[in-house]
């Protein structure tokens, strides 16, 4: 499997994970390790930003090879996002940021306008910005133009486990993106993750499907394998799916006049 490079950092695992919804931080830690992930997102609203060194969750994420990706979950505007990002950079000592602006607390759907405005400002301020967005191909290109390090379109609503409901748009995004495409939100089963990777996604981010499963550690391991399988299938080149039999078309029969 080819390594993935985002903003100069190389990842051998293409499975990114989250830290929410686990029954205990010890379970979360075991699941992270079983997943083989190298990038873990944490909501800054859950972290003790005044004394991050005393934060229980962070202490369970800190492992060699695992990088932190703070997210701005909870902000509603670009202005709030920029402020939160600055605090996160200072407290957590990373300029990587998952930019999440979802003013809608019900389905947590991202605001495209505020996200674009915030991304532009944060890139200027030196952040490595990975924006969480709807599967909107034009928005992805606009974000690419302002300098984001990757785009993170959703497969379906956050936490829904519904899988790749936006597949037609994900294919367009993957087809035309110059930055890595990380499919985030909605991936509910290892088969969804494998499918995303087969499509050519550069990585997937999975949280709920692991955290709320009966055995999060086993599920994390299953996702690890699915992502590898999907990526390897993509690199190997999937065969074409034939829609019709390959018979001579009667439309062309005039080219071979009956003798």
């Amino acid at each position: 499997m080819e390594p993935l490079v985002i903003a100069g950092r190389t990842f051998t695992s293409r499975l990114f994970t989250g830290t929410g919804k686990f029954s205990a931080t010890s379970v979360m830690e075991a699941a992270l390790l079983a997943s083989g992930t190298e990038l873990v997102t944490v909501a800054l609203k859950r972290v003790n930003m005044q004394q991050p060194e005393q934060d229980d969750m962070l202490s369970h994420v800190e492992h060699p090879g695992i990088h932190l990706l703070p997210n701005t979950s909870g902000v509603r505007t670009a202005k709030e996002a920029v402020y939160a990002a600055q605090l996160a950079r200072e407290a957590l000592e990373t300029n990587w940021l998952k930019l999440e602006i979802h003013p809608d607390p019900k389905y947590l759907l991202p605001d495209p306008i505020e996200t674009l405005l915030a991304a532009e400002e944060l890139v200027k301020q030196g952040f490595v910005v990975l924006p969480y967005i709807h599967a909107d191909p034009v928005l992805c290109k606009r974000l690419e133009d302002v300098g984001v390090a990757a785009v993170m379109p959703l497969g379906s609503p956050i936490g829904s486990n519904k899988g790749l409901r936006t597949i037609d748009f994900l294919e367009i995004i993957i087809g035309q993106s110059k930055v890595p495409v990380v499919i985030d939100a909605g991936i509910g089963a290892p088969s969804d993750a494998a499918k995303a990777m087969e499509l050519g996604a550069d990585a997937v981010l999975v949280n709920t499907a692991i955290a709320v499963s009966r055995d999060p550690v086993l599920m994390a391991a299953a996702f690890k394998q699915a992502v590898i399988a999907g990526r390897e299938a993509y690199e190997a080149g999937l065969g074409m799916v034939a829609q019709t039999a390959q018979a001579t078309s009667p439309l062309l029969s005039f080219l071979n006049p009956v003798s």
């Binding site: 929410g20 029954s23 205990a24 003790n48 505007t77 809608d104 389905y107 709920t208």
Partner: protein
């Protein structure tokens, strides 16, 4: 028309449920389907909120009150010693609460505009804001401009219970004081939504009126608010009338089974709404209800001003039932494979 078993079955089988389904699920006909409601409620809650429980604690700033409420220990006609915490006293309480591990505090007062009005709240917020990640408030309804001032000072959430949606009986229970204005109270969530508050808590005082009717109106109110102020989060609380000094006996006694039915009905019809349970409820009830849809709970609560450190003997608003400490509640949650969450907000959020 009274809901029948067929309405309940239909409500249970639907992917997306509406207010007619809510009616069916709180109806007497749904009682026979409670096991199925409980299972579904547990699954939906786990999917949305995960294996966690938000913890908060009330900080009573004052028991001064100019209202007469037939059911409340702070009622003006209840001859008790009145107390409003000074700045220094607030800090002492804050310190005691922080020692318990809390990052989310709920400020509570009676309704006394002269002594405990917006100016007092602004000063209190100034003192309290640096010490907590999330600040909620349960005080008298205020004007939109007043809420805007408080939000600018770092207020995140306001809880405002209608008590009852039955207008005539509302007047009976609130004969005097500013609280007697039914419409002003009813329109409070609108003023909060217009002011851009982050979260609004709703509810009725269960026991004042028929809980099914009152809860349906709460659900109707919630559905309207969710569509109108779509950037605001909502929570529902389930206060049942509890004994207090000089108290009124509940007109309608809501038993534990009915309260579980109501909690499940909310979860099935409002999958994303936060559901909160207070220390009014018994240990056994609280230990079990966390798996049925509840996402937030208070623990180690004192309902009297100064109750944590300053004046532990002052009169409480109501008797709490679950007297376990915050750490005991956290242990109970962990034994049930739930992670107690003390912090789920940050001063960086919602104040720009």
């Amino acid at each position: 028309m009274q809901k029948q078993a067929a309405d309940v079955r239909r409500a249970l089988s639907r992917r997306v449920r509406d207010l007619e389904d809510f009616k069916a699920l709180v109806s007497p006909a749904a009682a026979a389907h409670l096991p199925q409601m409980a299972t579904l409620s547990h699954t939906l809650t786990k999917q949305r909120f995960g294996n966690i429980m938000q913890l908060y604690v009330p900080l009573y700033l004052s028991n001064e009150c100019q209202n007469i409420c037939t059911y409340c220990g702070f009622s003006y006609d209840n001859k008790i010693k009145r107390k409003t915490l000074s700045g220094i006293e607030i800090l002492k309480e804050v310190e005691a609460i922080r020692q318990m591990g809390y990052e989310h505090v709920l400020l509570v007062t009676g309704e006394a505009q002269q002594t405990v009005g917006v100016d007092y709240f602004l000063q209190a917020l100034e003192i309290i804001r640096p010490h907590f990640a999330h600040i909620s408030m349960e005080v008298q309804p205020l004007d939109r401009e007043e809420y805007e001032q408080l939000i600018a000072k770092g207020l995140n959430t306001v809880l405002v219970y209608q008590e009852t949606y039955h207008e005539a009986d509302y007047r009976k229970h609130h004969p005097k004081g500013k609280k007697s204005k039914f419409d002003y109270r009813l329109e409070t969530p609108d003023r909060l939504g217009q002011a851009g508050i982050h979260k609004i808590g709703l509810g009725v005082l269960l026991g004042l009126e028929d809980w099914r009717t009152d809860s349906f109106f709460t659900a109707l109110h919630l559905a309207y608010l969710e569509k109108t102020y779509w950037q605001t989060r909502y929570s529902i609380s389930f206060p049942r009338l509890r004994p207090f000094s000089g108290g009124l006996m509940p007109k309608v006694d809501m038993n534990d089974t009915e309260l579980v039915q109501l909690i499940c009905a909310y979860r099935l019809c409002f999958e994303t709404v936060e559901l909160s349970i207070s220390t009014r409820e018994s240990e056994v009830f609280r230990d079990n209800v966390i798996r049925l849809g509840i996402t937030a709970m208070s623990a180690g609560s004192k309902t009297n001003p100064g109750g944590y450190a300053v004046d532990q003997q002052s009169l409480e608003q109501f008797e709490i039932s679950d007297e376990r400490s915050a750490s005991e509640i956290a242990d109970m949650l962990r034994r049930q494979q739930y992670e107690p969450v003390w912090k789920d907000w940050d001063v960086a959020l919602g104040t720009c």
